[in-house]
């Protein structure tokens, strides 16, 4: 039975299904083909007016059912993309009927939004027009608003749809959210609490207010005239990340359960590590301690040495700060000869709550096909970033183990180690 347990005596965790929705396409195949081709999914925003916005570009997923109607709210968008990705993953895993394990959903916080607020405000008048008490009065009987914007609403509807077991668990760790959802599933299977888990990361926050808020933090690229060239991780002229959206789903299963039912094993989740930073709300400690700690903990949790990592799927947001700190982490963990590292965000932008899950799927595809996706827009190398970032063109390489980094605002850092199927 030792072939079913890892170095720490825990259940080995297999991936038996994957699903993707990204600005490069619907489904794993289309998104992965776009990524290997070095195609940018960033474009001018068409969903809402962009006057007075510093940044008017984003990665956008155009949902067919949205045509000819007002844009979906964030929870509607998140739920739809999560459901598309989950349906693809569950189908690939060959699971029919109710899903035999819990749901872990990484998602953004949601709230009543401007279209709803303005719709309510239009039904108020007199001196109290537009006031919260008047809008509350106008919202009487609107159980639909309540259920749409509850934090637990999306998880409940997805759990209902896929028949997952137990309470759906929703998690947010900022830009590490998608990785956290996989880590929760990994742990539940490792400790024998579940034989399978449906892990999803989904994001749908491209809307005026979130964009303005990120702009106020000076986090976004404003290269509005050249959308496809705006996301420039690890490059000298990088100036910020590009907001994006999408979803990924992974079916995790104990290797034992996957083999018992004859499912195809697509890869393994070998380990996870996390570390919180106590330095600043939006910046890492200059010593890189939490980033380095998360990377090292993940590698150790997988029972590996740093030298056994063949490739790193970067957090690589394209902000001056992140890329500098990630470089520091790479050199600290891997020494003078770090493995190649590339940023999917150069093409799909920063999918925030979905990023960790989307990039875990891309990491598994990297192993499967022996192809490193590129970091595009690499025109002027940054001399302070002495890394092989797989510039501009995908490259063949034999990859057995990938470290996937996710570092969040608020100091929440999660790293995953993905491996080839046994």
């Amino acid at each position: 039975m030792s072939g079913l347990r890892d170095h720490a005596g825990r259940h080995i965790v297999a991936v038996t299904g994957m699903g993707l929705v990204t600005p490069l396409g619907f489904g794993v195949a289309e998104s992965w083909a776009g990524l290997l081709a070095g195609r940018s999914g960033i474009s001018r925003i068409t969903r809402f007016p962009t006057e007075h916005l510093k940044t008017s570009i984003a990665g956008q997923v155009v949902l067919p059912e949205e045509a000819g109607r007002p844009p979906f709210s964030s929870p509607e968008r998140v739920e739809r993309m999560a459901a598309l990705a989950a349906a693809e993953a569950v189908a690939q895993a060959g699971i029919g009927g109710p899903f035999p394990g819990p749901l872990f959903l990484g998602m953004p916080p949601v709230e009543v939004e401007w279209p709803q607020r303005l719709e309510l405000a239009r039904r108020t008048n007199g001196e109290a027009a537009g006031s919260y008490p008047a809008m509350i009065a106008a919202a009487a009987g609107r159980g639909d608003l309540f259920e749409m914007f509850l934090f637990g609403g999306i998880g409940e509807r997805l759990a209902d749809r896929f028949g997952t077991r137990g309470a759906p668990v929703s998690v947010t760790t900022a830009c590490a959210t998608g990785a956290s959802s996989i880590q929760l599933g990994l742990e539940a299977i490792q400790r024998g609490e579940a034989a399978a888990a449906l892990c999803i990361g989904a994001e749908g926050s491209v809307a005026p207010e979130p964009m303005i808020r990120f702009s106020l933090l000076s986090a976004l690229s404003a290269r509005n005239e050249e959308p496809e060239r705006a996301s420039r991780p690890f490059e000298k002229t990088r100036e910020g990340f590009v907001m994006s959206e999408g979803a990924a789903a992974l079916v995790l299963e104990s290797l034992e359960s996957a083999q018992a039912r004859g499912a195809e094993v697509l890869g393994l989740v070998l380990g996870a590590g996390e570390r919180a930073d106590s330095f600043h709300r939006t910046r890492s400690n200059p010593d890189g301690g939490a980033i380095i700690g998360a990377m090292r903990t993940a590698i150790a949790d997988a029972g590996l040495e740093a030298a056994q990592i063949d490739y790193v799927n970067a957090h690589g947001t394209g902000t001056p700060e992140n890329d500098k700190m990630e470089t520091l982490g790479m050199r600290a963990v891997f020494g003078d000869a770090p493995p190649p590292i590339s940023s999917n965000k150069s093409m799909i932008g920063h999918t925030l709550s979905a990023a960790g899950a989307i990039e875990a799927v891309f990491s598994l595809l990297t192993i499967r096909d022996g192809m490193l996706p590129p970091t595009i827009n690499h025109e002027v190398p940054d001399p302070t970033i002495p890394l092989d970032v797989v510039p501009n063109r995908a490259r063949a390489a034999k990859v057995g183990r990938v470290l996937s980094n996710s570092f969040g605002f608020g100091g929440q850092n999660v790293c995953l180690v993905l491996g080839a199927a046994p």
Partner: protein
């Protein structure tokens, strides 16, 4: 590998006050009265925040300015829990699991924009909305609003950095957090965890979310027993627990307030036969409840869930007293489950009850049960 897990510290802030004393006093007094503000958010009564000496737990003014009330409340309560457990020195390796709702909006800005834009056709409203937001939003408010930034602030202010996870989903989020924290410690992934949540009542933005459910009590406050159609009164509540393996607590000479016997949660679809009562009955299967166990109910007051919970409680054999703590504290959403665990731990430690069953029936979804046991004499030695 299954190591016993104790509660070794609690940090509790409610409209009754802060820390152990006011809450233990309320548990001892059968006629304890809540603190109610019926005017400020009429027609909705709320249980307000007590005044807090923030400097005691959040010494830097810069940190205080970077937070809104719910984050300050949670960060403050988290600090109380660390102090109560004598666990300041353990923060660096401590896991952090927070149950969080949405952060405060700038209500004055929202209202000004709504007033101006409601009169315009949608085509004109869009660009103007961008302009008003770009000029009106404060950069710090974004960070005060992000749900995971309560955890971020606790890491920054108290140095809790072992790990950081924020759970969402109203009451259920807290049950997830406590259950997962307990499981991780029991299986040997770490020795200590700080787990809890905060809810600042008296927020128009949250009342706009919850009022369309029809579940909020309107008018004068009355206890749960006097609300024939049910009704939820939101309460300001910050509640954090320090969880610790018994092995680790013994080794450092820390006292256990209570031992966690079980934490379970589920989510009925609440339609057809898939009821909250059936969900709770399934969760209760095999729980080691003894005659005379006290019940600390996390009922929100919302009618449907309350009926389901009462029907479930009726099935318990030889239960002791049932306390609906919303009558003292109000309903604090993500903070309710940890607050009830804290109250139960206090009652156990004071010898007021022999064993405690803590319930959580979410206003919309989610059922949770926990059993707390006294920490035995031999265990304390």
């Amino acid at each position: 590998m299954s190591e016993p897990v104790w509660i070794t510290g609690i940090g509790l802030v409610s409209s009754l006050g802060e820390g152990v004393e006011p809450h233990l006093a309320a548990l001892r007094a059968p006629d304890a009265k809540p603190v109610v503000d019926a005017a400020s958010f009429a027609p909705f009564p709320i249980h307000p925040l007590p005044s807090l000496a923030l400097d005691a737990q959040i010494p830097k003014k810069g940190d205080q300015r970077q937070m809104e009330p719910w984050q300050r409340l949670g960060t403050y309560a988290a600090g109380l829990a660390l102090d109560h457990a004598g666990a300041r020195g353990l923060a660096g390796e401590m896991h952090l699991l927070v149950a969080a709702g949405g952060g405060e909006r700038d209500v004055a800005l929202d209202e000004a924009i709504c007033r101006e834009l409601a009169a315009l056709p949608p085509g004109e409203a869009g660009p103007l909305l961008n302009e008003r937001l770009a000029n009106g939003l404060r950069p710090t408010l974004f960070l005060a609003q992000l749900s995971n930034l309560l955890a971020g602030n606790i890491s920054i202010v108290h140095g809790v950095t072992g790990s950081s996870r924020t759970f969402m989903g109203e009451e259920s989020a807290a049950a997830d957090a406590v259950r997962i924290a307990t499981a991780r410690l029991a299986e040997g992934r770490g020795e200590t965890a700080l787990v809890g949540g905060a809810y600042a009542a008296g927020r128009w933005d949250m009342l706009l979310l919850f009022s369309p459910s029809g579940g909020l009590l309107r008018g004068d406050w009355v206890p749960l027993a006097g609300r024939p159609g049910g009704g939820m009164v939101t309460g300001s509540l910050g509640a954090f627990l320090v969880l610790e393996t018994a092995r680790h607590a013994r080794a450092r000479g820390a006292r256990g307030l209570a031992a966690i016997g079980a934490v379970r949660n589920g989510a009925a679809r609440r339609r057809g036969g898939d009821t909250a009562r059936a969900s709770a009955l399934a969760l209760a299967e095999g729980l080691p409840l003894r005659p005379g166990h006290a019940v600390f109910s996390g009922a929100s007051g919302v009618a449907g869930a309350l009926e389901e919970e009462r029907a479930f409680l009726d099935t318990l054999t030889e239960a002791g007293p049932v306390r609906f703590t919303t009558d003292l504290l109000g309903h604090g959403m993500e903070a309710s489950f940890p607050a009830n665990l804290a109250l139960a731990a206090l009652a156990l430690q004071a010898g007021l009850v022999p064993q405690a069953l803590v319930t959580g029936f979410g206003l919309w979804r989610g059922e949770a049960l926990a059993v707390l046991e006294p920490v035995g004499e031999e265990a304390e030695g």
